[in-house]
Amino acid sequence: MKYSLLKYSLLIVACMFLSPPSFASDMIDGLKSLPVQDAGRIKPFESLARESLQLIYGRQTYKKRSAAEVVFTWMIVPDEWDKTPLVEVSHAGLRDSLKLTDKKNKHFTPIELMGSDRVGLHISELKLKQSRKEKLDSFYQAVKRLNSQLNLYHAFKLGIAVRVAPNKESSDTSWTPVGQLKGAPKEAFKKLTEGFAQSVLASVKGGVAEPTYTVEDFTEAITSYNEGEYFDASRVKAELWLHKFEPFQKAALFYLLSMFVMAIAYFSEKKWIYRTAWGFVILGFLLHTCGFLVRVYIVQRPPVSNMYETVIWAAWGTVFFSFILEFLYKKKIILMAAAFVAAGCLLMASLAPTVLDPSLQPLEAVLRSTFWLVTHVMLIVISYGAFFLAWAIGNLNLVTTLIGEEKYKQQIKDGSQAIYRSVQIGVVLLALGTILGGVWADYSWGRFWGWDPKETWALIALLGYLAVLHAKVAGLIKNFGLSASAVAAFSLVIMAWYGVNFWLGAGLHSYGFGAGGIEKVAIVVIIQLLFVLFVAGARYIRNKP
């Protein structure tokens, strides 16, 4: 795009690096809604920009500038960006081996990385490993990320990363990228960039310019050139809304509020406090549901195909089951525990985008069956929600036990009853989901049970909770044992849910595999198990005659 904008580029450089971050915000907001084709679907430019900036820079904003603004200027003034520390290399070992000058900083300029011999060397080693289908260690995972960072940045520079218009002449479904546009679409896009440049100009001068050419004008031009609608505007808008409104973060805040209010209600007899807590949790739940439904609308399928989506859905399940149990038993701690779990899940989902990838991806061929996705995957994940609830109440019970088992006898008993019920709900749903998974596998692969790691670990988790239920029914464990084992057994769920995909990385469920966060999750699980042991030990010593 450089060629058409030479006269503006200097000015844009000036604005980019001198002006306050909020410059030309109208124009930027307009650009965000530009429909682009990327990764097998049509999305607003905002999504592409956020995902690209996340990959390359490691965050979704660059020094308080919006992703759309930054990414758009990569195409217009690449020479300036080449000299800016932009590419994040977070793996310390890789940074050392690259022998770049500034070791303290995590970000490097594209120029120094692309010019480095060692980068090329590592990438060719990576390609060799990939062709041999070897498992990549964390170093080569980092090289793989660096490779895709550089490729993507290069694609933006060449103007081939942003595909904005369908190709009328070709039967191919891929859209034409901005760098290869011809005829009317090319003119239209030129006008759009000029409009962008002019509003930048105006903002440098201190005024606000009315955008001369908006994204609506551009899409109209493409539509008329294409003789028909070429994208679903309402779905693009819905996705934009999701970015702007961030319903899950807001839901998390309401859940947190509700948790604190419920904690107050726990020590007070006043009914209105209890009702306020209910009110907050319902508000959070509505936002949560709303965000989920919008994602359903955008991708036109149940969004339960990666870690991020399952975390959101499991949290929804936790709150949903707590509603039922709280309504039946009115124990306060049920809702409090659920609000804690849901807030934690939603915050984790929005704060760790490298591990929990929020982008909406098209489904693997084998998963393209909405019926089975709804029954098998959603049932299993929502059963994790029920176990999550049992885990949280179990922890509360353990803490109460530590403070005073005799004094809070009734509370512990109430908690155990809730744990028992939620484990029961979880077991039914997990059994049903696992068996339906078998039926789906039978229907789609031709075998009912094949000891695939994912299905095996789902079975192990099921067996774990079955052992807990049997032990409780037979009187082998009492209230304390139930709480402790509900907490400990949740490690099995973590293994089935997270461990198989992020740690084991084997088997047929490979479409869900990911990387990252293993150490943190392992530490949390170990601390949790140590806590259970500690409480059990303390209790044993205290009760010794």
Binding site: Q424, V428, T456, A474, L476
Partner: protein, 570 residues
Amino acid sequence: MLLNTCKQTPNKLMKLINNNVETLLWAICIFIFFSTISAFVFALQAGVIAPTEWSKTLLSSLYGYQKGVVSTVDIAKILFTHVLFPVLISIAVGVIFYYVFRRIKKRYPKWFNRLFKLLISVKLAVVIIIIMGVVAAVGTFVEAKYDAKLASRLVYQSLYMHGVLGLLCVQLILVMVDRWPWKRHHLPFVLAHIGIVTTLYGSVLTKYFGVDGSIIFGIGQTQRHITHFTEDVMVYSSFDGSKYALLDQRRVDFFNSRPSRERPYSIPLGEKKIEVIEYQNYTIRNSKITSSLENAAPPAVRVQIEGSRARATKWLMPGRNKGVDKISLGPLELVFAKDVYLWDGKSNIILMTPSRQKAFIDYKVFSKSRQKLIASGKAKVGDVVDTGFMDFKLRIINYFLNASEVVTYEPREYPNDFTTPAVLVRFNEKESWVGLNSVVKFFTDSEVFIFSYANTRLNMGFDMTLNKFRVGRYQGTMKAMSYESDITIQGGQQATISMNDPFKQKGFTFYQASFEQDDSGKPVASILSVNRDPGRFLKYLGSFLIILGTIMLFYFKKAMIKVNRIKNEI
């Protein structure tokens, strides 16, 4: 005394019946349930009731059979495996344990009663459940470190896994026997336990009577055989080198019964014998092409083709019979032919043939767009030829007019996509490695023996041809959205098999599993998995009962705990 007993018998019987009304009702319910299902299946199979569309679907999906191809033997088999055998076994086990342990257990030594008490205790149940979980977990780690095949053989299909599952079955049945006569609140517990036993029994049927294999065919090819995961060795012999006779065929399991030099696996051939003396689970096949003194040996050339769009380096060696070997690069095909090769005009090709001058190769470049020969000439080792087609350059790296291929297998510790199992075979003091799905020849003065080590091939009884294969991609990407195979069955029936939409024929079910593509991403072959699962119905029935039982637990929880409390107090 005797008279007395006789007189009392009717009363006793009436008392027994009166005391056990619920038990009898239970027995009748179970009997009606099983006989309704079996009667329905039987009537459908025999054609007594008209098979409606849904019942046909049900039948074929559950049993893998289709109406019209089911013989009386099949029906008898189904009846025996699905109804008669399990019912008889359960009744026998039930009656024996009920009478032995509940009625006259006082006469047995103490240790016997203690064993029974242990077997029906919930403590043991918890222990078994935990052991199962631990064993299964070990299996997943083995799979992550090695592969699924090893995990299955070492853990999931091992003796101790079967032992644990067997113990689980025994306990499930004994606990049910112990609770006899069952009351209403036993319903969920009985259903779930019967369900688990039924499901496990179904998987036994699958394991011993089922078929689980795959078919790989290129586009346009016809297949009649399923490749099964089990392994066979076969020995053929020939006197003239053209006609081969099968001498011996055996099912082998070298993984579990490993051959060694001390204890070889021996196949007698008259006075001589072929011995398998070593087995390696993971080996890498290395082939080395060398010059051969034999005049009939085929030529071989190692070429490198390089252009901005694609590059490849490869040995090309036409077989003794096939005469042609090629590299496909998408826009261009590189063909090495022993003698004559006719260009069909449908692709751009570089044709190489051995020249009359010994060290040279003749090459010809044909263009599809211009429909003619655009370049030709001679080249020797070390030459680089500008093909004139795009910017492709051809380099001759090595060339033998008569070549032979020496294959070795190098053992590896861990598997990857290229490893294969291999065996070391000895014949007349000569030793040779044979990889899975390959052969080795042994020569004597008068005859040739071929030793083949391969996956079992099952004849389906009909031909299947792959007409077309399509890959649907997500817009603007190479990411596959769907795979579809268009096939024709012998007799003209056509069908499309796609992901999540299998096809059934003569008891086999065909599933779209995967596909193979060439370097340019064009699909070249389709992979179907094929199966026949006689245990399917029982597995589904069992799963249904398990779910029903667990859901019912919600309603009966209080009763269960009450009973247990009373028991604990006693």
